[in-house]
């Protein structure tokens, strides 16, 4: 039915977008799994990262890699600030599970509209930084997209290493599995919370920064990635960064293949249907360790 080349091309595109999905989802999953917080402002970290990259590129002439780094650093600290001012005061107190949802919703509305006022509603585009395409066996990949994929994979590998081998990363995993046990081991849980939050925000910003030259940058650009992150995290299993990685790439590829069959307006529908099917079969997602 379809040319094998076309299929493989789409799979490659899927992996590229998938790497960004993983960046969005991994942070979302980490916070949700570790703190039990549903951060509905997560998309705004993506958006802010995109704007940082946009201005770093257009005003300061940075290349996409440096811009992404700038975005990661800036939004890491923003994320820490966010957690300490908005979540820390209400966390653990009665009703916190729903209050944290509301506070992040409020923050999301606030940030989107500040961006609207400050940056304007116009869709901003960045010119292609690296000209040309990489061509292997009839598969074409623009260098821009190659950068997205490689930096994305690098960051994912960094996250994996961080979680597995560093002291702070191990503490994060420990907290997700037994919070009191972690406290009793001497872990400063509150501090790990805001570090993790900063990390989650930084990764979302990285996704936004990396994709800025490929898609447009505008104040509500984060809503789509948030929904995707939500679906992917559940698909992969709550609290499992490994699950987010698998699910992120799977959804990216699935989405890219689906557009061959249905119009792109319906692709989100099918992603959702896929997730719903997976959930009915495996209520905990692929690798879920927490039920909620």
């Amino acid at each position: 039915m379809f040319d094998l080349d076309v299929l493989i091309q789409q799979v490659v595109y899927g992996l590229v977008i998938g790497s960004s999905y993983v960046l969005m989802a991994a942070g979302f999953s980490l916070i949700w799994g570790m703190m039990g917080v549903l951060n509905l402002a997560h998309g705004e970290f993506y958006m802010l990262g995109a704007y940082v990259a946009y201005y770093a590129s257009s005003l300061l002439g940075f290349n996409p890699i440096i811009s992404s780094l700038a975005a990661i650093l800036a939004i890491f600290f923003f994320g820490v600030l966010f957690e300490r001012s908005l979540l820390s005061p209400i966390y653990g107190k009665p009703g916190w599970e729903t209050n944290t949802v509301l506070v992040t919703v409020g923050a999301s509305i606030f940030l989107q509209n500040v961006a609207l006022v400050v940056f304007g509603e116009k869709y901003k585009g960045l010119p292609q930084y690296f000209e040309g395409d990489l061509e292997i066996w009839k598969i074409v990949l623009s260098y821009d997209r190659l950068v997205v994929f490689s930096v994305g994979c690098f960051l994912i590998a960094f996250l994996w290493y961080f979680m597995k081998y560093t002291r702070v990363g191990m503490a994060m995993r420990a907290i997700s599995q037994n919070r009191d046990g972690a406290s009793l081991a001497g872990v400063n849980v509150r501090r790990i919370f805001y570090v993790a939050f900063g990390l989650s925000a930084a990764f979302a910003a990285a996704a936004g920064a990396l994709l800025a030259p490929i898609f447009f940058v505008y104040p509500t650009v984060g809503t789509g990635p948030l929904l995707m992150a939500f679906a992917i995290v559940i698909f992969g299993g709550l609290g499992s960064v490994k699950g987010a990685i698998y699910a992120g790439f799977l959804v990216g590829v699935f989405e890219s293949l689906i557009v061959l069959i249905v119009s792109s307006a319906w692709k989100d529908v099918f992603v959702f249907i896929l997730v719903i099917i997976i959930l009915t079969a495996r209520p905990r997602g692929l690798f879920g360790i927490r039920e909620e």
Binding site: R173, D180, G181, A182, L184, A185, G186
Partner: protein, 236 residues
């Protein structure tokens, strides 16, 4: 100066009061026990001592220092460690990772290899299962791991919540040998137990906790012979 001194401790879960005006102490290198049946408030008490219970009043002094408002990690840093019921272990991390986590504090991280050696000597089984997922361990092994993890923090006072619970008699003896060994290393031990016989065999002094109140205290032999204790707890 007592190693640990508690005065007028009240503890609450939400609006219900669980602990009522508790006062007790532990001297250095002592092994003391707090015994009580299920629901007496033993675990709540340990939570309060480790800083995990936010709703409480009263004073807690460790090594002469007031620790009642300290966060849990700071209390561990001072040398007051707890091995909660079940060991406080991380089921999806390996045995080795669990032990490493026990030494999380910077002061302990430096002594990691030394403490690891000590723990592996104490529990050779753990050394064999270094890379096994903690969640796949048997009940007894998990308890050993919990104790090992607690020891990795180089505690000066170790509190244990029902260390022998659910273990076969052979393993219970292992636990007691371990406690002896820890005591030999000049660590003060606070044992919280449902099994009064076990507790009184290990400890030199004990308190009896009932409905969140201390109803009896004294030397172990005296308590063993006490009528109330015999009737309610020793099934005499």
């Amino acid at each position: 100066m007592a190693h640990l001194r508690v005065e007028g401790l009240n503890g609450y879960y939400g609006h219900s009061q669980i602990l009522w005006n508790l006062s007790f102490k532990a001297e250095e290198e002592e092994v003391i026990a707090i015994v009580g049946s299920n629901g007496a408030g033993k675990t709540t008490l340990l939570k309060a001592l480790s800083g995990l219970l936010s709703a409480r009043s009263g004073t807690i002094e460790f090594g002469g220092q007031r620790i009642d408002r300290f966060p849990p990690h700071r209390i561990v840093g001072l040398g007051l460690s707890q091995i909660p019921e079940g060991g406080g272990i991380f089921p999806f991390m390996t045995v080795l990772e669990n032990l490493k986590m026990g030494a999380f504090l910077p002061s302990n991280w430096k002594k990691i290899s030394k403490n690891l050696e000590f723990v592996f000597q104490l529990f050779p089984d753990l050394r064999e299962r270094k890379h096994q997922m903690a969640g796949t361990l048997s009940g007894g092994e998990r308890q050993m791991l919990g104790i090992g993890k607690g020891l990795m923090a180089s505690p000066k006072l170790l509190m244990m919540d029902e260390p022998s619970w659910g273990l076969a008699p052979k393993l219970v003896l292992r636990v007691f040998d371990t406690i002896h060994e820890i005591k030999r290393r000049k660590v003060t031990i606070l044992l919280v137990e449902q099994n009064v016989y076990h507790a009184l065999s290990m400890a030199s002094r004990a308190y009896v906790l009932e409905n969140g109140r201390i109803v009896l205290e004294g030397a172990s032999e005296a308590l063993m012979g006490n009528e109330l204790v015999q009737r309610s707890y020793l099934g005499a």
